[in-house]
Amino acid sequence: MTKKYFDVAVIGGGLLGSSFAYGFGQAGLSVALIDEGDNAIRTARGNFGLVWVQGKGEGMREYARWSRKSADGWANFSAQLSELTSHDLGYHQSGGFNISLDEAELQQYLRMLEGLKADAGEEGYEYELVQGRTLAKYLPGIGEDVAGATYCPHDGHVNPLYLLRALQEGFSKHGGCYLPLSSIDQIQPLKSSGFELLSEGRQVASCERLVIAAGHGSVGLGQQVGIRIPIYPEQGQIIVTERSTEQLAYPTNMIRQTDEGTFMLGASARDVGFNSETTTDTLQDIVRRCASAFPNLRSLRIQRNWAALRIMTPDGFPIYSQSEEFPGAFAFSCHSGVTLAAVHAQDVCRWVVDGKIPVDYQCFGPERFDVSTAD
């Protein structure tokens, strides 16, 4: 198995890697999905589960468009994956709300949305300000002091763990080869084309095309094929409560309810290096904000807190790159692995098959961070 030569090898079994592996499998290619072990960083564990369009792309219109494209294709993507694996993903797209607790927050957010709307021009940008009694109708139990919320019909949510599981099963069903417990530390380009991947001297796989989607591990791997990936860890803490009969019909930026009935509370971001321990003050921030938004949450038992190291790029937008020195090697990193799963599995896989990232998407290349490159 390990001596086999694959059409494409994906390094990284998280949300990005699994989306790509599934997509390549769907396209009929032979795929190896290479993964680390149970106690690695595992950024995917920090996913909140939002499939989100609202508020994305301030400063880069292409990203707003990209998020919208993925959200539009998500229903199809979910249906196909569900059917193939007989697993429910818990995907719902009934729109979502961004809650602003106080007036200042609300005004700032509205200004941002207006800017995005202006950027969008004729393409349009939908959102709606909802307040007072109307808001209470859609989000029963919303705190009386909440300034307001903005609704976007394109937002939705999914169970990120079910998504990951389905992607890996879908990949498996397409004949993909899963190679866990293999932390790749050496990429050796082969003479004519293709690459050999080694872990501690052991040959793990060989491939024609290589996709690096290894979360924080991408930095070091990218270097080996001449790709610069300026990403850094952003610690996100999440709280999940016990199951509840309270009902929250729509996902929001800080709270969503899972199909099991538990509530996920989040929206924290800290720059603390590679520290995946929760901290009391951040947890308190999260519960205080969420309790202000929905006072009924106060009586719910906290089931678990955890922290994960999400991917953050200097401007918050994805980094999609290909190696010039070693054609056929690609690296993809982004913060919103859940939202973009649909386009990753379809569009991005096609780029790799075609051998190049289309001109339209070169705005996501790491060159944009080079100060020396003049516009």
Binding site: D35, G37, D38, N39, R42, R45, N47, F48, L50, W52, G55, N98, Y109, L161, L164, R165, S172, Y178, P180, I239, T241, E242, N253, M254, L265, A267, S268, A269, R270, D271, V272, E277, T278, T279, T280, D281, T282, Q284, D285, V287, R288, R289, C290, A291, L297, R298, S299, L300, R301, I302, Q303, R304, N305, W306, G316, H335, S336, G337, V338, T339
Partner: protein
């Protein structure tokens, strides 16, 4: 009146023999010690309710046994030691080494607060090894430890149809206590193997060095065999009933038997309660002989975190006498550390402790964990909270799931309220079995706070931590 001081020299979690002894030693030498106990009165499990028994029910002292009664002296010493006793307090969090200070998150009477000790001693004792088998989630199936707790701290006795099942000294100790209260269990179903040659040899050594304890144990076994319907070589235990337990069935020598009963008490040995120590990021390793995770200890009670020590059954199963001896050693170690912040590992183990270790080796060998429980059949529910079966665990492992944490993501196993206390050991074992590797390699659940229940409101209302170094930036973009 409990003190609500947020600061102290030493916090001790657990009021059993180990924690109380350490607390006494440290308080008596002038340290400011707080003992946090989630029970209402000191004594832990082994001396549970001993003060009350002496005060209100002295007639029970005899039946509960001499070892139990010996706890009274320790309680008296503790009450006079100057240590601050805080009953009814649950610890829901120990801050990680990434936070600026060591802090404990506590819940008392529904209110959350923080405590900032210079040093922490974990004396959380033992828990019973999980015992998954068919029907174990039925009302009417409990552990022997549970029934013993009820014996010591309430007026509840099992009815005469009670059936005991499993293996280990506690099973026989409890049977003896029942006998003294006039109850004869319907049967004692022993799931253990016959005594091996190695066990016999270890037993001889233990007999020479701890004759009193060994003779007592042999007396219990003989009594159970002759007077209490002891059945050996029991396999394929099942609890049956619709909404609660109605009967128990089992096999001996290939023949199936059935007993009608409303209460089944099971026991498969005790293991360290590592949930707090794991949540604090302390390193653990898997002890194959004792078949459980144990914290890595240096010296008497030093761990991979300088400010945290572990003592008693929480460090390694040894019983009350060992717990008290270790409590003394750990107290001296902690005192030295508080003095000059140097880890001193020069404390030599006493002969008494070594003798006890030999006793422990014999017990480990003579009462191994029961295969039926530790590697259950596919249709048995392993995770009580999320109702995940052994079969599901084996399947995801075969499909490439590498460890219990990823298993959580794929099956929800371990994500329920008990946070893996009742399934963790079994899950690691099952995965090790499928992958053909050691349990050590498979690993264990990553344990996170809260360790005890706390609500959103309780955490929100808690006064902010001493260090207001708040770096949180709330991002609107989270997907």
């Amino acid at each position: 009146m409990t003190t609500q001081l947020p600061l102290c020299d030493v916090a001790v979690i657990g009021a059993g023999p180990a924690g109380l002894t350490a607390a006494c030693e440290l308080a008596e030498s002038g340290r400011n010690v707080v003992v946090l106990d989630e029970q209402g009165a000191p004594g832990g499990q082994i001396y549970k309710g001993v003060e009350k028994v002496f005060a209100d029910r002295p007639q029970d002292i005899g039946p509960l046994g001499r070892e139990y009664a010996a706890g009274k002296a320790l309680m008296s010493r503790f009450r006079q030691s100057g240590a601050h006793y805080q009953p009814g307090v649950s610890v829901w969090q120990i801050t990680s080494d990434q936070e600026p200070e060591l802090a404990l998150g506590l819940i008392e009477n529904g209110l959350a607060r923080m405590l900032y000790p210079k040093h922490l001693i974990l004396a959380t004792g033992a828990m019973e090894r999980p015992t998954p088998f068919e029907g174990w989630t039925l009302p009417g199936v409990m552990t022997v430890g549970a029934a013993q707790t009820l014996l010591k701290s309430s007026r509840l006795l099992p009815e005469d149809d009670v059936v005991l099942a499993g293996t280990g000294p506690l099973l026989y100790l409890y049977a003896m206590q029942l006998k003294k209260f006039g109850i004869r269990p319907q049967a004692i179903l022993d799931t253990g193997p016959p005594l091996s040659l190695r066990a016999s040899l270890l037993g001889l050594r233990a007999l020479m060095t701890c004759p009193k304890a060994m003779f007592q144990g042999m007396r219990w076994l003989w009594s159970a065999a002759v007077k209490m319907n002891l059945i050996r070589g029991v396999d394929l235990l099942k609890a049956q009933g619709e909404n609660h337990l109605r009967s128990v069935s089992f096999e001996v020598g290939g023949h199936r038997h059935e007993l009608s009963t409303s209460l089944l008490l099971v026991h498969d040995g005790v293991i360290p309660n590592t949930w707090l120590s794991m949540s604090a990021g302390i390193k653990h390793h898997f002890n194959e002989i004792q078949d459980c995770w144990v914290p890595q200890i240096q010296g008497a009670g030093l761990t991979s975190r300088d400010c945290i020590s572990i003592v008693g059954d929480a460090a390694s199963i040894g019983g009350a006498e060992v717990a008290m001896l270790q409590g003394e050693r750990v107290a001296r170690e902690v005192d030295a550390y508080l003095e000059d912040h140097q880890r001193s590992e020069t404390l030599i183990e006493s002969w008494v402790l070594r003798r006890q270790r030999w006793m422990r080796s014999f017990i480990d060998e003579a009462f191994p964990s029961t295969a039926q429980f530790q590697l259950p059949e596919n249709d048995i529910v392993v995770c009580r909270c999320e109702e995940v079966t052994a079969g599901e665990i084996r399947t995801v492992t075969e499909r490439g799931c590498m460890g219990p944490n990823q298993g959580k993501a794929f099956t929800r196993c371990g994500m329920g309220p008990c946070m893996g206390r009742k399934c963790g050991l079994t899950v690691s074992r099952l995965m090790a079995q499928v992958r053909g590797v050691s349990v050590q390699e498979v690993g264990h659940y990553r344990i996170r706070s809260p360790i005890r229940p706390i609500t959103v409101g309780q955490l929100a209302d808690m006064e902010s931590s001493l260090n207001g170094d708040n770096q949180s930036l709330l991002s609107a973009d989270s997907s």
